[in-house]
C-alpha cells in the first residue's frame, strides 16, 4: 500500500486517556437571547405548522363543500364566547404572573399563577361539558365532515390547553414549595409564551369554527 496507510499519530496515554473529571466550559455564543426562549420559539414554530395541517385541512375542505352549515345552528356559540373571554383573561393573568416572577415577588407570582391555572382549567371544563352535550345529542365526529373537522381542531387545541394547565400547575407547585427566585423567572416566562400561543390559536379557531 502507498500513503494511504501512512502512519497515524501515535496514541499517548498521558494525553489521550479520557479524563473523568472535567470542568464544564459553557460558553454562551450567538445572539443575546436566552436559550430557553430561543428553544421555545422554535417549538412554537413547529406548533404553528402543526395547526397549519389541521386548520389548513379545515379551510380547503370547507371551501370545497357544496354548503356549510351555519355554525350557530349546530354549536353553542354563547358559552364558547364566554370561554373565549376566560382564555383571554387567563392570558392577562399569566402576564401578571410573569411580571411578578421578574420582580422576584413570589407570593404575587403564586397568586396570579393560581388564577391562571384556575381559569385555564375552567376553559377545559367548559369544553369538556360542550363535548359531552354534543356527544349525548349524537353529534359524533363520524356524523359528517363538519363534526370531523370540529372535533379534530378543537380537540387538539383542548389537549394543548390541558398541557398548558399542567405545565403552569407544575410551576405553581414549585413556586409554593421551593420559591422561584428572581433569576429563574425564565421558567415562568417560557410557560407563559406557550400559554399565550395556545390563546392565540384559540382566537383564530373560535373565529373560524364558531363564527364564520
Amino acid at each position: 500500500m502507498n500513503i494511504s496507510s501512512a502512519a497515524l499519530p501515535a496514541h499517548d496515554p498521558a494525553v489521550d486517556a479520557p479524563k473523568p473529571h472535567h470542568a464544564i466550559y459553557d460558553y454562551d455564543s450567538g445572539p443575546p437571547v436566552n436559550r430557553g426562549k430561543f428553544a421555545i420559539w422554535l417549538f412554537l414554530a413547529t406548533e404553528v405548522m402543526f395547526f397549519t395541517g389541521l386548520i389548513g385541512t379545515y379551510i380547503v375542505l370547507r371551501m370545497g363543500a357544496a354548503t356549510w352549515p351555519d355554525p350557530a345552528d349546530r354549536l353553542a356559540v354563547d358559552i364558547t364566547a364566554l370561554n373565549t373571554f376566560f382564555l383571554i383573561v387567563s392570558s392577562a393573568t399569566m402576564v401578571k404572573a410573569v411580571e411578578r416572577a421578574m420582580l422576584g415577588d413570589n407570593p404575587g407570582l403564586i397568586k396570579w399563577l393560581a388564577l391562571t391555572v384556575l381559569i385555564g382549567a375552567t376553559f377545559v371544563g367548559i369544553q369538556a361539558y360542550e363535548y359531552a352535550v354534543l356527544i349525548k345529542d349524537g353529534n359524533l365526529p363520524d356524523v359528517d365532515i363538519f363534526w370531523s373537522t370540529f372535533y379534530a381542531m378543537t380537540g387538539f387545541h383542548g389537549i394543548h390547553v390541558a398541557v398548558g394547565v399542567i405545565w403552569n400547575l407544575c410551576i405553581l407547585i414549585a413556586a409554593i414549595f421551593r420559591k422561584i427566585p428572581q433569576e429563574k423567572y425564565m421558567k415562568v416566562e417560557l410557560a407563559g409564551l406557550y400559554w399565550h400561543f395556545v390563546d392565540l390559536v384559540w382566537v383564530l379557531l373560535f373565529t373560524i369554527v364558531y363564527l364564520m
Binding site: M1, N2, I3, S4
Partner: protein, 261 residues
C-alpha cells in the same frame, strides 16, 4: 492501490454508459411506442438522457482522474486554495441555463397530454362525450360504453370487463374512475399513465396509431392483488371496432345485464 480504486471509480461511467448503449439489444429499453404523443415523450427522455449523460461522464471522469492524480505520493503540500469566485459563477450559470432549458422544453408536451383545455375537440369523442368510462376496482378493470344514445349513465350502457377496445388513429377521450381505492391506468406502449382517483371522474385522452393488443397495467399500489390487476387494451380498425361494439351489444343484451354487473 490507487490504480485499483481509480479503476473502480472509472468503471462507473464506463459500464454505466455501456449498459445504456446496449440496453436496446437486451430489450431493456422502451417498449414500442404506438401513441401520437409517445414519440415526443421518448424524445424528451432522450434529450435529458444526453444532457445528464454528458454531465455524468464529465463529473465521473473528473472524480476518477482527481483521485488518481492527487493520491500519488508526491512531495510538498496540497494546493492551498479556498475556492474561486469565477469558477463558482461559471458552474452556477451554465447548469442554470441547461436546467431552465430542460424545464421549458417539457411544458408543451405536458400541456398537450394533461391540460383539459388542450383535449381534442371536434372529433367523435370529447370530454363531454367520451368513448367510455373505465372503472378500476380491486382488482380488475371494467369498461362502460354508452349505448345508442351516446351518453353514459343511462339504461342502455354496455359493460365489459378486462378488455378495452378502441379504434386506431382516432382521438380517444375516456373517463377514468375508481370504485374503491386509488389505481392507475398505465399502458407502457402508449406512454400514458393516470391515477384513477376514487370519487373523481378524470378525463384522459390518447391516440393510438397502431393496431394491436397491449397490456393495461395498474400502476398504483391498490392492495395485495395489485400485481395481477391487468387489463387489455385492444386497438382495432374503425370497421373492426364497429363490429366489436355490435358484438358487445348483442352479447350484453342476450346475457342479461346482471351478468356484467
Amino acid at each position: 492501490m490507487r490504480y485499483f480504486f481509480t479503476l473502480m471509480l472509472l468503471l462507473v461511467p464506463i459500464l454505466g454508459v455501456w449498459t445504456f448503449v446496449e440496453a436496446d439489444r437486451w430489450q431493456l429499453w422502451f417498449p414500442q411506442n404506438v401513441s401520437s404523443f409517445g414519440g415526443e415523450i421518448d424524445g424528451l427522455f432522450n434529450l435529458i438522457l444526453y444532457m445528464v449523460g454528458f454531465t455524468f461522464i464529465v463529473t465521473e471522469l473528473a472524480l476518477a482522474w482527481f483521485v488518481f492524480k492527487f493520491s500519488a505520493n508526491r512531495p510538498g503540500k496540497a494546493v492551498f486554495t479556498h475556492g474561486s469566485h469565477k469558477l463558482e459563477m461559471i458552474w452556477t450559470a451554465i447548469p442554470a441555463v441547461a436546467l431552465l432549458f430542460i424545464a421549458f422544453s417539457q411544458m408543451e408536451t405536458w400541456a398537450k397530454v394533461k391540460f383539459e383545455s388542450n383535449f381534442p375537440k371536434g372529433g367523435k369523442y370529447t370530454k363531454e362525450r367520451p368513448i367510455a368510462e373505465l372503472w378500476a376496482s380491486q382488482f380488475d378493470w371494467r369498461v362502460c360504453y354508452p349505448g345508442d344514445d351516446g351518453a353514459i349513465g343511462t339504461a342502455d350502457d354496455l359493460e365489459r370487463s378486462y378488455e378495452f377496445v378502441v379504434p386506431v388513429n382516432t382521438d380517444i377521450v375516456f373517463h377514468l374512475r375508481s370504485r374503491d381505492v386509488i389505481h392507475s391506468f398505465f399502458v407502457p406502449e402508449f406512454r400514458l399513465k393516470q391515477d384513477a382517483l376514487p370519487g373523481h371522474t378524470i378525463p384522459v385522452w390518447f391516440r393510438a396509431e397502431k393496431e394491436g393488443i397491449y397490456d393495461l397495467v395498474c400502476a398504483e399500489l391498490c392492495g395485495w392483488g395489485h400485481y395481477k390487476m391487468s387489463g387489455r387494451m385492444t386497438v382495432v380498425s374503425q370497421a373492426e371496432f364497429d363490429k366489436r361494439m355490435a358484438d358487445i351489444k348483442a352479447e350484453w343484451f342476450s346475457n342479461g345485464k346482471e351478468q356484467g354487473q
